[in-house]
């Protein structure tokens, strides 16, 4: 057994400060284990949101040593324990208390995106025929666990606070899953350009780097959506070709 120091943010919307807690750590522990141990031994009132402890519920999102991470998936042996490990809440959302933030803005954003609008069924029994290749293309996007780490790290939200104009990487992934869905008939390209602010993304790929599900957010979702916007709004040649094709 050895010990490590964890520098944890304590406070609420009115303010707060980092507090140091030293606790024993052992092989196989993750950051969330250490937080629970500190909660049990030294700080019973420490607020932390968690649920599955398996990287699938997306509840325990926080910033560990400044990097947005799921606490339950961050092993202590991946961190330098010779110095205090900083644990703080996500910076992009309003703080409720300690490590817990109010992520409800995300759910409101989701309501603004046009819902799935399937074409008429292919068969009389009301079913569709879809090829596996086309299903797999959007399947990656459906791995999202809505941990909102990508929203947290995106500097458009984090540093520029453009919450009113920009829906963030999570919802570009969501839009891509619908927009590239082979059965869907709705057109979201205009919304992407005008209301959802895809043009604000400057492709820093921070969202891709922090995604615990390893979704290739920038290359497979955001850039293809940007290209669809270019088709509609900035490429006269494509427009002309479409006119000729009818």
């Amino acid at each position: 057994m050895s010990s490590a120091t964890f520098r944890i943010w304590r406070g609420n919307a009115d303010g707060g400060a980092f507090e140091d807690y030293t606790t024993e750590v052992s092989e196989g522990m993750v950051v969330l284990d250490a937080v629970h141990q500190i909660q049990a031994e030294k700080a019973n009132d420490l607020a932390v949101r968690w649920n599955c402890k398996a990287g699938k519920c997306g509840s325990c999102s926080a910033e560990v040593n400044g990097n947005p991470k799921l606490m339950c998936m961050t092993r202590l042996n991946s961190l330098p324990l010779d110095q205090p490990v900083t644990i703080e809440p996500m910076q992009t959302f309003p703080l409720i208390r300690d490590l817990v933030t109010d992520v409800s803005w995300n759910y409101e954003v989701k309501k603004r995106i046009k819902q799935f609008a399937p074409r008429a069924p292919d068969a009389p029994d009301g079913s569709w025929r879809v090829e596996q290749y086309d299903v797999e293309r959007v399947q990656e996007f459906r791995k999202c666990i809505e941990c909102f780490l990508c929203q947290d790290v995106c500097h458009v939200l984090r540093d520029h606070r453009l919450h009113d104009k920009f829906i963030g990487p999570r919802y570009f992934v969501y839009t891509a899953a619908l927009e590239m869905q082979v059965l869907d008939t709705a057109d979201r390209v205009n919304d992407l350009a005008n209301e959802h602010g895809v043009g604000y993304c400057n492709i820093t790929k921070c969202c891709t780097k922090v995604c615990p599900e390893e979704i290739t957010i920038t290359d497979n979702a955001i850039i293809p959506l940007k290209e669809r916007v270019v088709d509609e709004m900035y490429d006269p040649l494509t427009k002309m070709l479409r006119m000729f094709r009818g």
């Binding site: 910033e63 040593n65 400044g66 990097n67 947005p68 330098p80 900083t86 703080e88 809440p89 910076q91 992009t92 959302f93 309003p94 703080l95 109010d102 803005w105 409101e108 309501k111 603004r112 090829e131 290749y133 086309d134 293309r137 790290v153 500097h155 458009v156 984090r158 540093d159 520029h160 606070r161 453009l162 919450h163 009113d164 927009e179 869905q181 082979v182 602010g197 043009g199 604000y200 993304c201 400057n202 492709i203 820093t204 790929k205 921070c206 780097k209 922090v210 920038t218 290359d219 850039i223 293809p224 940007k226 290209e227 669809r228 270019v230 088709d231 709004m233 900035y234 490429d235 040649l237």
Partner: protein
């Protein structure tokens, strides 16, 4: 359309360089800054030289295609007489804007130089120097949407560079004037340049979109599906090929230049 739910964002925005990251977050943008600055600096210098850009069957890729110029590789003759005397002339001026435009508007490079040159952001979850942000949503950066047009030009340039490799296989005997097949180190340098530039161009995000990505249903389009898979394969290593091709195109010019200046001997392998 439902009204946006406004939430009060209470955490203060962090200032320039502020972060709780203990790692060397500044290292990657610094390397990108130095790498791109070196390449831009060298290529600008090389473009202004206007000489030592060809040697035997070799033509520097920074000068290819040579539309107008004094070398045997020139497609349409020498420098035109009407070129204003007060303006410096180099065959590179006529063409270098196209590959430069392709790289400047490239999705990978955009993300890299916004961080390294504009600190927007300096690195992930590190505070920025400015509070205003327009992104690529309005002028000037909305112009980045022109990328696919530069991609068309880049593909055309690949054809010329491949033709240069073909030319680099035919050596003239200085004494007899007889042209014969051969392979020199320079031939391999120029050939590898085409391979790396091709790997970079064929992984272009715009190309990926145009060859198939724009369709929701790709499975039923056999040719487009194959093209999409192929471009996607290159696209997964787009960053790697972007850097390798940039370094090698710079080296290719250095190689031809050193040979032309008589500083380096081009060894014949065949």
């Amino acid at each position: 359309m439902e009204q946006v739910h406004r939430v009060q964002i209470v955490a203060p925005v962090r200032g320039w360089g502020q972060t709780t990251r203990p790692d060397a977050w500044w290292l990657q943008p610094l390397v990108v800054f130095l790498g791109l600055s070196t390449a831009i600096g060298y290529m600008t210098w090389a473009a202004f030289q206007g000489e030592f850009y060809h040697f035997g069957p070799y033509l520097s890729p920074l000068y290819s295609p040579e539309l107008l110029g004094g070398s045997p590789h020139s497609l349409f003759g020498p420098q035109p007489a009407w070129w204003p005397g007060f303006l410096p002339f180099s065959p590179a001026f006529l063409i270098l804007w196209a590959p430069a435009g392709f790289r400047v508007t490239c999705y990978y490079y955009r993300g890299a130089y916004y961080k390294a040159f504009w600190a927007d952001p300096p690195s992930c979850s590190v505070g920025e120097p400015r509070s205003t942000f327009l992104g690529e949503n309005s002028f000037p950066l909305i112009v980045q949407n022109i990328h696919r047009y530069f991609m068309y030009l880049a593909l055309l340039f690949l054809v010329f560079l491949t033709y240069d490799v073909w030319n680099a296989l035919w050596f003239e005997n200085a004494a007899t004037g007889v042209v014969s097949f051969g392979i020199g180190v320079g031939t391999l340098v120029l050939a590898l340049n085409v391979v790396l530039l091709g790997s970079y161009c064929f992984g272009c995000h715009s190309l990926r979109h145009l060859v198939g990505g724009r369709h929701d249903r790709i499975a039923g389009l056999a040719v487009q599906r194959s093209c999409y898979d192929c471009v996607s394969g290159f696209n997964r290593r787009h960053m790697l090929y972007a850097w390798m091709s940039l370094a090698w195109v710079t080296f290719s010019d250095v190689y031809v230049r050193l040979c032309a200046m008589g500083i380096w001997t081009d060894f014949r392998l065949l």
